[in-house]
Symmetry: C2
Amino acid sequence: MKAVETIPYTLYKGTFIDTPELGELRIRFNCLVGVNQQGVIDFIKEQDQITAKYDWKQYTGRYKHEKEREADIQMFLDNHGRENYFNYIKIEDNKFIFPGFIDTHIHSSQYPNVGIGLNIQLLDWLKIYTFPLENSFKMDNLQLVNDIYTKIIKKTLGCGTTCASYFTTIDNETSKIFGDLLLSFGQRGFVGKVCMNHNDDYPEYQQEEKHCVEDIKHLKQYFDSKNPDNEDLVKPIITPRFAPVCSRSLLTKLGKLSQDEKLPIQTHISENKGEIDLVKKLFPECSNYANVYDNHNLLQESTILAHAIHLSKEECKLIKEKNCSISHCPTSNTFIASGEAPVKKYLYHDKINVSLGTDISGGWDPSILSIIRQSILVSHHLSMKSGNNFDKLSLNDGLFMSTQGGAIAVGLQETIGTFDIGKRFDSQVIDLQTGNLDLFHWQLVNDDDNNDDKKLKMLNLLNKWVFCGDDRNCSSVFVNGRKVVSK
Amino acid sequence: MKAVETIPYTLYKGTFIDTPELGELRIRFNCLVGVNQQGVIDFIKEQDQITAKYDWKQYTGRYKHEKEREADIQMFLDNHGRENYFNYIKIEDNKFIFPGFIDTHIHSSQYPNVGIGLNIQLLDWLKIYTFPLENSFKMDNLQLVNDIYTKIIKKTLGCGTTCASYFTTIDNETSKIFGDLLLSFGQRGFVGKVCMNHNDDYPEYQQEEKHCVEDIKHLKQYFDSKNPDNEDLVKPIITPRFAPVCSRSLLTKLGKLSQDEKLPIQTHISENKGEIDLVKKLFPECSNYANVYDNHNLLQESTILAHAIHLSKEECKLIKEKNCSISHCPTSNTFIASGEAPVKKYLYHDKINVSLGTDISGGWDPSILSIIRQSILVSHHLSMKSGNNFDKLSLNDGLFMSTQGGAIAVGLQETIGTFDIGKRFDSQVIDLQTGNLDLFHWQLVNDDDNNDDKKLKMLNLLNKWVFCGDDRNCSSVFVNGRKVVSK
């Protein structure tokens, strides 16, 4: 079990890249970061703060690295006075450390269906592909459950996803197993046991209202007892599937439960026009889809609204007022032709926080790196439709949504998402010289480059990473200071 | 040098999948295909034609495979009376053989720029990124030339591209080197030494008219002398870059050269609205962009028109009349926001042949598998804009464009593109159980499935391949019967 492994105090040295604010990219070369035994970033020293004593240019090859290491460690001991055991990990040039990706919308149980179901619209898609598969998650089907849940966690971790907000199924016992597997592989995760108490399309897959609420309380106790000390690695998240399969009474109870138990919320909103019409018919007393959730106290600062493609002006205003986050799922929205969410507008005009979701299995790709790419491409399609360049998302926008935007969405903006003192060390080491990418010598950062050249090269490399890279470039992954993937 | 290796007579046994007609998918399980010493498909026996004598169900494991092999070889000897040396290659269950991909638009010299240049429009993009790089392809820069050309050929071959129509640069000597490398790695290819005799944006990168024509004649002689007997593996293709950088006189000479030397043609058309306006200004005597090429006899049956996003009704009619092909480049068109080509309309309404191009480096991805995926996704965006489901491309449409559609575009529809007797064996073996894809046991084809179940499973697996697969699933590649990639 990864989550109980002790964490040695570790010094990481190399290029750190993150996005502290929307649109802002921070690149820190030759940065020394100390991560303590709780997995928390203890100090950060940038290049100019630590290189004064040594002119490293005079050293070459292995010897230079030894001198660098020696200087780093001396500086650490001078300033921190520690003599305990600690690790020193040097991330080589042309590799960099990026925050772990945060996937804010993913159905772990649907993983086998990725890539299947092209050309079928949302409501039919649920009936034909989704509900039958989800309904097979039961304790008498443990081999299947373990197989699917293990594969999706290993796959997303290998793609650099250190934290995800999952939908499992309505079944609570196998949702517990899913949480156990998260702890076992060491991924930070929210377990969204699905709540739905009516389902005309597939009546065998629904659950009584009271069981929904009891199950979530039970999950909370279960994970509280399982998490390592002071680390809420695995947590339940209240998950009304979406308004059309929940009664008013269930929605009310779930809203109350969120406040009583201080639990976050996730659900779907405005994915498809047929779905929006259905909600209007089912909740005639509500002015719009967002209002259905608000009426039942489900729009909280900790609420993740997945898709949010066709929001009205009033809905955007309400979502901003309540400080909810959107999970944008571009692959899914294009695959099942649900629409193109106006993300740039949400971010810069409505000032709503937007994060990214793979939406397995509406989306075919478990990698958030691919989702960044597709979010940019979908925004280009929007821009070609509107004739307005404003609609285009930048690379920095995509990188922000995949990390700090995700951290805000899951309520962990003070805990993960960037490299800052006091945050937990969830990160991935990116190596662009492995895998599928071909780089050329003049594209690589080297010691002779001045800082501006280095930054320009690094920007081009980041573009190449997002467009031409894949899981092969993610060479190791850390969650809470623990190495959970090493390739 | 791959291209001169002798080809042993080989029996291939396994699942063959191809697209003989637009929209039609042909899946042949347990199919036996003989490929002769010229790399030509000699015979094809489908399952029911060869299994009569043996009830394989009674055999299991290794023994079964031996019996199968024995029966195949006996059948071969009975019917073909050969006793010479031959190979027998069994493609295991859940692998399949697909025709090699044909990339009908790719700039080999631009490979280093993939993934870079987001958010810059076509004409600026050429000036900032493309022309300076292309201009460095000279004989005094051989290391760079070899590095780039080697990497792009190896990369595309590894992605299953067995044939490509390349743009190199205006430099003829290094274009010869590119052709040599194609022969050396064994890829079938068209070498498009670029013709452009004026270039206001980057004046140092252009060439006098007479040299353009001489160079192409010289290239033809050069490759004629280098190709193996009876195998036109490498051939020049007449390549006026696009109308804005070619004089009327150059265009006329290139049109004539194509007819005199029986050489195919490739160029760009209607990629970007700024470009279309420029062409209108430069050629006021022509009724539209396509008419510029037609006026100079450049619209032939062997002409590939890349992009073709914003064609008028008249242009579509003209292109159909002349039987030209379009090379659709969806990644490029979205990346630099050029537009969304109405491919479904071209294919089914205008009856124009459409093939696929990676358009390295306007497109970021050297894999035609990714281009199939993106062609479908772009068609979904078009469909969401038009509200018309008709606009959506199917998986079969994409697979056709990537193989037989490409073969028609390069004028080799009788030679490659499908598995039929008399065609040359350009193919890739796809293994979905390696690489990045997670499959589950119930998704795999097995002996107990009836033929309908097998086909349904195979359709889902093809969907998974196109959406979730990558180069890792391409386990070996054959060009003209020679194995050129083995992973």
